[in-house]
């Protein structure tokens, strides 16, 4: 590179003091975000460290850190997975309804109603799940045990209180619906109008138009939105802590019994207030695992959504 280019490059207008202060402050705020995120990781690692190297008999349960975290990690993944299974078809259908089926005039109002679901605090979902939803599921789960008991998921014995993994997953599904719907709805709205009209003009019915024009266009957003929902479900704390009657060291796919694995977040919330000493470090270590899992899921989701943004026909 010729040396002249560096010498002729000037900074445009002369920098005033106010400009320098303002741009410095805003850059600092941006860097602060990175610092906070790095700090979250660093402090969690620092506090989890003693538990990672402690003698296995000192960890609650007495079997070491891995065997302590594994059941709750299993419960976290299990509940989030089934919440996703329930929420996926619903989220796509709701997004379709709001963007393509509902009368234009009330569509935004309906979207607002779904967004209201996201505004309800998780503690309220927890109380609702424990007092309203759980009793409602007692009869159906008994039926499931009697008639579909050969499936491991419905092995039973059905819980008499209804505070089962099944109810926890339903509550989680309701809680992740709004965020998944919001992302998918956004993508469906951006479907190029010409694709839709061309499809209709060729004689397609509304469903055929959606299948051929809207769904392919929104596919990666559907995946991204659902992964965001998954991240939310993995980290949800109070609703699960209140609804689920959990026991330690249970690893089972049985959704309807009263012996359920806890989730990482719920386990922390329930144990932390009374914990001291190495127990705290153990809980923070499990929190670190949760942080890593949700970070991976969220980064994956964002990568999928952003890739679509780059290649979409909308811009």
């Amino acid at each position: 590179m010729p040396p002249t280019t560096t010498s002729t490059r000037t900074r445009g207008a002369p920098q005033r003091l106010g400009d320098r202060v303002f741009s410095g402050a805003s850059t600092g705020a941006g860097v602060l975000i990175l610092v906070i995120l790095a700090g979250v990781a660093a402090f969690l690692v620092a506090e989890a460290w003693p538990a990672l190297w402690a003698d296995s008999s000192e960890i609650p349960g007495g079997d070491g850190i891995i065997l302590y975290i594994w059941p709750v990690l299993f419960g976290t993944l299990l509940s989030a997975f089934f919440a996703l299974v329930i929420a996926t078809p619903l989220a796509v259908a709701i997004a379709l309804f709001i963007t393509h089926y509902a009368p234009r005039r009330i569509a935004s109002l309906l979207g607002y109603l779904i967004d209201l679901l996201a505004a309800v605090p998780s503690i309220i979902f927890g109380l609702w799940g424990a007092f309203e939803l759980a009793p409602m599921t007692v009869e159906p789960t008994r039926w499931l045990e009697d008639n579909l008991g050969f499936i491991p998921l419905f092995d039973g014995p059905a819980s008499p209180t209804g505070r089962t993994m099944l109810v926890a997953t339903i509550v989680l599904a309701v809680m992740i619906l709004p965020i998944a719907t919001a992302v998918i709805r956004e993508a469906f709205l951006q479907t190029p109008r010409l694709h839709e009209e061309a499809s209709l003009a060729l004689g397609a019915t509304r469903w055929e138009m959606i299948r051929m024009a809207v769904l392919p266009f929104g596919r990666s957003s559907i995946i991204g939105g659902l992964m965001l929902g998954l991240g939310r479900a993995l980290g949800e704390t109070m609703a699960v802590a209140i609804v689920l009657s959990a026991s330690r060291d249970v690893v089972s796919f049985n959704l309807i019994s009263s012996e359920n694995p806890s989730t990482i977040a719920a386990n922390i919330a329930l144990s932390f207030p009374e914990a001291s000493g190495l127990d705290v470090n153990t809980l923070i270590a499990s929190g670190l695992v949760l942080f890593a899992v949700t970070l991976l899921v969220n980064m994956g989701a964002r990568a999928v959504i952003n890739r679509r943004r780059d290649f979409s026909g909308a811009n």
Binding site: W128, M238, L295
Partner: protein, 372 residues
């Protein structure tokens, strides 16, 4: 245009004529319009099924849930079979999807309705002056209230907002006005990632941070504010960024053309234009964190009496109060404790809904006037 038929010989013309007649015969059998259900068929069928469902539920023939399911399934089946006879398989499938998609939406509204009615009906019992004027100090079973918790929630969320709004706003300004290159891309990406931090992890982080300075077992209101800030900042950035993007570049260029420095342009032109949107975003962000329980449970804990000093010892907050009343209800006065838990939940949901409405109102009233 010349007619090409004149150049054809006789036999060819006869062939053409026959083909045309056959085509005409075929077309005569094929209707020009395809069959379609009468215009009001679908809504009326739906109405009939809804009425039948309500009747079955009211007469006690079926439970509410079962009646609802039967209504949806019955309507879908009837409209599908009917349309299949009249409109053919493609039209019928279209109607089937319409019915399924609409029922999915109705299904999603059920929990919302159920949650709100449950909270209102259960929370009304103790939603009285006593509840808002008393703390739990010295309360064993009857009476008591959440005055201390309400104040705690307001103080802790207020401090969180005071910390998050400047940081969030400045970051958004950096991303929109200054940010170029790799740093801006990284910040954008990690703001997205930060949105997904589980609230309990934010609580653990703050505990880990403060434990280094204050030793184990530390609890105070300010820790809760920091934890809520971690959750709130990305939301503020996201919404402020969206709003700053909406400010037209012409405004900035006009300002630069008048030799206004960049920082004054941002302060006097860009921010005022985007102010309504930013205020809406901040209100929604507050509504989002004010109901958080998990991080406060870990960092702030709970007290029975008044403590309005965020830098000293435990405080009470509405969400943790509600959880505490639920989780530690003693056997002899269980319902009294549950009633207080529900009343706190009702207060919380009222605050959140008010904030949501307020946000919409701000967006509507103070939106910059655009040329329609």
């Amino acid at each position: 245009m010349s007619t090409p038929t004149t150049s054809l010989d006789k036999g060819d013309r006869n062939d053409k004529g026959r083909a045309r007649e056959e085509a005409a015969a075929l077309l005569a059998d094929m209707p020009l319009t395809h069959g379609s259900l009468p215009r009001r068929a679908a809504p009326l069928t739906l109405l009939a099924f809804v009425l039948a469902g309500i009747a079955a539920w009211q007469t006690g023939l079926l439970g509410a849930a079962f009646a609802g399911i039967l209504t949806a399934v019955g309507y879908t089946a009837v409209i599908y079979l009917w349309a299949r006879r009249v409109e053919g398989p493609r039209g019928a499938f279209d109607r089937l999807v319409t019915a399924v998609v609409s029922s999915a939406f109705a299904l999603a509204l059920l929990p919302l309705i159920s949650v709100i009615t449950t909270v209102v009906s259960n929370g009304a019992a103790r939603f009285d002056a006593d509840f808002f004027n008393n703390s739990m100090l010295g309360v064993v079973d009857e009476g008591g209230g959440a005055h201390h918790a309400l104040m705690g929630t307001l103080i802790i969320t207020g401090i969180a907002a005071l910390m998050s709004v400047p940081v969030g706003l400045m970051t958004a300004i950096y991303l929109i006005e200054y940010g170029r290159g790799r740093l801006a891309r990284w910040i954008t990406f990690f703001v997205d990632v930060m949105t997904g931090i589980p609230s309990i992890v934010a609580g653990l982080f703050v505990y880990a941070l403060f434990e280094l300075f204050y030793g184990p077992g530390i609890r105070m209101g300010f820790m809760g504010s920091v934890a809520l800030s971690v959750l709130m900042i990305p939301v503020v950035i996201r919404s402020a960024e969206e709003m700053l993007k909406l400010v037209p570049n012409e405004l900035r260029e006009a300002s630069y053309a008048l030799a206004v420095p960049k920082w004054r342009t941002i302060l006097k032109v860009v921010l005022p234009t985007a102010l309504a949107g930013i205020a809406t975003g901040v209100t929604l962000a507050i509504a989002r964190v004010i109901g958080e329980t998990a991080p406060l449970l870990i960092t702030v804990g709970i007290t029975r009496g008044d403590n309005f000093d965020p830098f000293n010892e435990r405080m009470a907050t509405l969400s943790v109060f509600s959880y505490n009343q639920y989780a530690y209800a003693p056997g002899h006065a269980r319902d009294l404790f549950y009633e207080r838990a529900w009343s706190a939940a009702l207060t919380l949901i009222l605050i959140v809904m008010t904030l949501n409405l307020l946000a919409r109102l701000i967006a509507k009233l103070f939106a910059p006037k655009t040329r329609a």
